[in-house]
Symmetry: D3
Subunit: 322 residues, 6 copies
């Protein structure tokens, strides 16, 4: 069964998410604060013992100048400077193990896989703490600091994500004009956010992105992690207006409207985690060139490796010389 | 089916938990740091409109001088100073709504129900943030900061719990010599911890307490919240020694060995959340007078109101003049 | 996700339940038979040991003069005669333990918590047998005697509920002009039934009431206890007309149309147990002054303590001198 | 996985069930009371339209002279008087539809399938009400009237079962010396009970019988229907002694010790509903000739049709002239 | 809740399934190939020991001349030649045990219960291998060979089913003009297929038939066995067109349009396995006389024995002399 | 909780699996038959567009000369001839997508990932049909042809696995003296089987291997795919001896006893799919040098990438010049 709308209804759907008056001011201020800290990228080569890929343990300064970790993977024997991909990770995961995820480096890209603060324990390994405050909250990060945009967890994480682009652009081996972002689920939501906050990306790709169209999401699914919001409001009766106000500063729909980089999106018709309507809510207002792949028989796994292959093809098309 | 051991095996079981060399030094230092902040109890009467109970919104300074919330409920028309009960709450909950939980005040006690930092959203309402750092962690608080006793979440929470006793003792309406602590599940674990950290309690009661005998718990149950530890170690392969070292500073078994206040404990033979063996691990080494009630046909609900009635009877027996 | 209709659709929904021709005659006859037995209220004080509430074990004569149990809780030191609240209990529960549920007495009401015949074993304790016949039935009481209104279980229970009002009005400590009824779920269905069968109530409150709008309920939910009806008809193919005829004598929609007491109702948009449309089916035809509180993010727990607080405020508004 | 003991442990296991002093007196009195009512068998042929089996709707007087229903199926064109089989039904079921269950009549037996009072709605159809009292109970019949052997549901049902033997023996077409009983699960428990209460049976068969060895059952399984007892004691804390006393009057272990008819039993090593140890508890003390079939890879379905085939072979061996 | 459409919507629904151009050619060729093998019916009497039914182990040549097994049950003492019923079995099952399923023989029919190749292990016993190729597939048979109509599993099974009619017609004891087919679920789908492929059936009956209206089924349910198709397409992204083309050769909708025998159909409004709309998709285009029974409160069990009784009545009405 | 034995018990456990007299003859004959067909390796380069890895679509002749598919991945710019790894896949999966699984090629190995006949649809893509016969079976392949070793599915698959070693050894780019095998779960069972059937492997690695110690497995777990055997025997009562005889020809325990290549094994203490005792059953009799890694807090995911890293290290140690 379809978990959400039919393709016809998706084509006609438009999100009801609102645009807070000070959305741009909020993010300008937030990113300026982060930029006040030197990016301070530190690289340590990992003795991975691979023949075709070199791997580095990366640390850079993210939100509030706090250290954020990652892996940098570089193809051996490929002409530099390289095009680059910054990859963001799905909910509960971290940067994982250095030997995992060799796809982008093997394809000839400098590949920065950014760790996710305070996550990295549910299905893949992380090493970055979240040093912000934790309010009365439901387990997880969806409601951490949710009563105020200034204290909300995703303010910190999205800022890290923006800074990761700075980090990769600062590398000698990278061609700063050919930097793209990619991610699935939460990582897709982050790619969308960064696409709305940066005007210097060569391309973008978001697979079955999370964190889009919250007003629709709370009615369209009972699945986690969106459900953390429902769980919170179930106990915190009467805070819904405040919660939805905070969420509007972090909604992929609002980021999409500000984006310019050409994007590859995907959505799956049987996805209960990130219902396709929430993704089409962002797609329909996306500011740059856009394409969206619909996976008719898939759930939240979306296109899997085919989405990665699609993003690779998209990047090759958009990035000169790749 | 029994979820754990038979009564005969429980009688013979002894925990393998170890006692870190600097356990006492760690807690002495921790509590001294907290005591360096004035307790600063602030009371605001809530217009609850009840005929027999007066209710106050309480704030005091807990770990690192951070504000901790609570409710103070006082019986109307009862001679003062009053004996007092400090109550701690189960996992995921907070101090709740002021109109809930009128039992202890109706029984003639000054009743301080302490809020739980960073929780208070899963089943009862809370209002206290957790301002400490959040490491790479599994959703929940069981693995927040778990790689170091100094950063572990329960260091902050147990310190709050100790400070709540100071807060209630500082009240004019309370007889400081007749202060007890009570709690179920996580609240029971906190009551046990406070019993091991304070020598001035009149009595204590812990129903089906959580946070006891971690070496046994990780083998005896797959249920949450103990399972958060298992989930963490499943991904963070190789950190088990470090994790278990941290946990030993927060284990009810080690607190029990240091306690002196007479305690009422309970355990349930069909409890998969807090397996009875883990509770007997603490019971068998408890330093003060002790009694334990076994609920043969119950799960984690334990004795429910009968446990509260048992605690009331226990307190009446221990506290002169109640 | 919403389990039933959106707020807009709820506002427009009307139940299709029919009004059996002899509905009033059936209930007049039923209540007259019960009234033929002396109410015979027997009170025994329980040595509860509370400072602010006195508790009595109550027995009175309900349907067919059979003994029905309950707890009477009275606030100590409050001027009498008292306003009173009769409370009915949710499905599977009984009057519980005498130390539970101190809210209404603490608020200054004489509080009669009526036991539920034949239930009182699934989540709270009961002590009243159901002495009527048990037909071939699905486990539970929803289909006990369902082939005839005269033998249906709820004929006996609703009659008990009406008699409980007589019982409390007969007490010296109670002001018979200020008696209200309250309940949640099945207890809410009973409050609604009593509101339709008594013209002498000061006020009424029904939280997420059960037993409303059966024609809608069997299509709107698969959850128990409504599902017992579905389970029955699954095996007893061909009895659906007879079953629905019986149910029409016990439907909150039909009671609501006859009610006059001002009522506080609540419904929850994510309630699969008592779908909000079934409650609006009763609300829209309610004969007396009415208000309904919608809990947008809640399931069958509805407003919890906030519903109780709402009822307290409602009663205070309706009852002079409270 | 095995749900209970290995074959070796089953061979050595003995039940701890006790024998109440007045067990025999209780049952003698109970059956004498029932025998005080004429059996009053009423037969109405059903126009089933079968070529080889004739079917009658049967009513006879069971416990307290109350009407009990059943189907009588007779093979067409077979020499009379016929050997007979009385069959009892599993938990939640009733006599079913007259066209079901043609096995025993096709095999040449007069086949009385007895209805089950108050059940007959969960998976197969019934038509017999239970007219006894219903105490505060868990849904189902396992705890109906459980505080006293005199009011317990199974006192009524077992008496019906004994009377069904009288009913079939009273028929002209039946050879009263060749009457057997058979049943699976609850029906097996009933066959075992009747085997302990009648000395005039030609043979008996009980497949994966229920209602055996309650002291073991409450520790060996969490599955329904045994679980109803656990659910009850979970809420009715403190009534366990009284409950187990009642159950001892209805335990297959105690009936087995009094039985004389040759019996075919079966048990399944992966049966969580009726754990094999509880059945071996009865088997080891069975008073008559006995055989037990172990189904190694089966759950509560046991041997299915192979158990029926086994019973047919067993009856043929025991009954002269079949 | 209804799992699919309301009765009103079912009445108006029409399937979107298409008719492949070479549908008839495909089946003509397929059946001609099978007919090229002698039917070669082999009967061995089973010593079942029944008084009224004789049972034979049957083998005949089905698809590609491969041996297909079955049971033949004949009523004893009934005048021959007999009307006959060929029965097909539900998904995962086989012909079962010879002592099961005595209904049709007892009703006076020669009853051939055909085994199901390669199944017969999940809930009832089978003995017939599937000798065709197994492609990369999801567990089960729904996607075995699904990329080509020529290799699809159901080509083999439906051919067996057609041949079973030939087998029974070839028997001396059978009146070849009075042969009907019957089945439930997968068996119903087979009965429908045979009804579309044979013009010599006296009557047909399909209870809650499976294998109808695939374009609707993949959107209307997530339940197995339809779900095997969804599971397959989830991994085999991009093969959906090919898969649906294959399925169109095996869709009950297309068979129904070619059928002429009077049919008894049933559908259940709460059936998630075979949603009623898919059955109405076939019903509305059925070429012969048709009736459909709607079971309002049932799931996939449909009418159970009442469907069998309905089929018996239907056959009696259609078959002269029964 | 541990799903099986403690580490201490694992150390002492020995399997009860028997060694069929003609085990070696059976496999010698089977492999000789396969070797009678030319291996006929066909390679087609896939335009994958990677910078560091070249990928080829591979076909070779496996069991009965049937075509078996795979991917060959070669590191670009690495000196040849290369050491090689043949990898086998877990249950339900196939060779997957060519862009997946770049680990072994990136590490400098020629990497042949063999497809799995008839699977490749549940979680990763396959393209190889199983052309053997399908008996009456449970969905899946565990009971396909299980009544005879000659027709059992795994006879065909294990033969394919052996032939894959021949295929890779025949390649010019490969150093035939440095060929290893690796796999997890079913792939681990295949690696173990090949280790027992080939004496020319440089090394072997099996992560949480499946298909070991069947006599223990059927008692130690209810999880799939072992459960397919239980499901089969539940319906096919009486075939257990025959089934276990067949399985003894395919048991990792028996292959281990014949193996000589140094092996890296792993087992997880919380693995319900492949209980650690079944793996230790093979480990304790393994004929060559052996090491086993125990993952204390893991389930069937075992060590994940750490197992791959462990295997890489193991191969580097064993293979000269890697």
């Amino acid at each position: 069964m379809l978990t959400d709308m039919s393709p016809e209804d998706l084509a006609n759907y438009r999100s009801s998410q609102v645009n807070p008056d000070d959305f741009d001011a909020f993010w300008t201020r937030t990113l300026a604060e982060a930029a006040g800290h030197d990016i301070d990228v530190r690289l340590t080569e990992v003795p991975a013992g691979l023949a075709t890929v070199k791997i580095y343990d990366v640390t850079f300064k993210g939100f509030a100048g706090q250290d954020v970790r990652g892996w940098l993977r570089l193809p051996a024997g490929v002409e530099q400077p390289l095009p680059a991909v910054v990859q963001y990770v799905g909910y509960g995961g971290g940067r994982g193990h250095h030997l995992e995820n060799l796809f982008w480096a093997s394809a000839g890209f400098a590949h920065l896989q950014m760790d996710t603060r305070g996550q990295g324990s549910s299905w893949s390994l992380g090493a970055t703490p979240d040093e912000g405050p934790s309010s009365a909250q439901v387990p997880g990060v969806m409601t951490r600091g949710i009563l105020d945009p200034a204290t909300y967890y995703y303010r910190r994480l999205f800022t890290d994500a923006v800074r990761a682009v700075d980090a990769v652009r600062s590398l000698d081996v990278v061609d700063a004009d050919r930097v793209s972002v990619v991610g699935g689920s939460q990582g897709g939501g982050m790619a969308l956010a960064v696409s709305g906050l940066r005007s210097d990306l060569a391309a973008s790709a978001a697979f079955v992105p999370f964190l889009c169209d919250f007003p629709r999401a709370v009615r369209a699914t009972d699945s986690y992690p969106y459900r953390e919001i429902l769980d919170y409001l179930k106990v915190h009766r009467g805070e819904q207006e405040q919660v939805h106000r905070t969420l509007s500063y972090f909604d992929g729909v609002n980021f999409a409207a500000r984006a310019t980089a050409p994007i590859y999106l995907s959505a799956a018709l049987r996805d209960a985690v990130c219902p396709p309507s929430t993704i089409f809510g962002a797609y329909h207002v996306y500011g740059g060139p856009r394409e969206i792949k619909i996976w008719e028989y898939n759930g939240h796994e979306g296109g899997g490796i085919l989405d990665e292959e699609g993003a690779l093809h998209h990047f090759r098309t958009q990035l000169k010389g790749v």
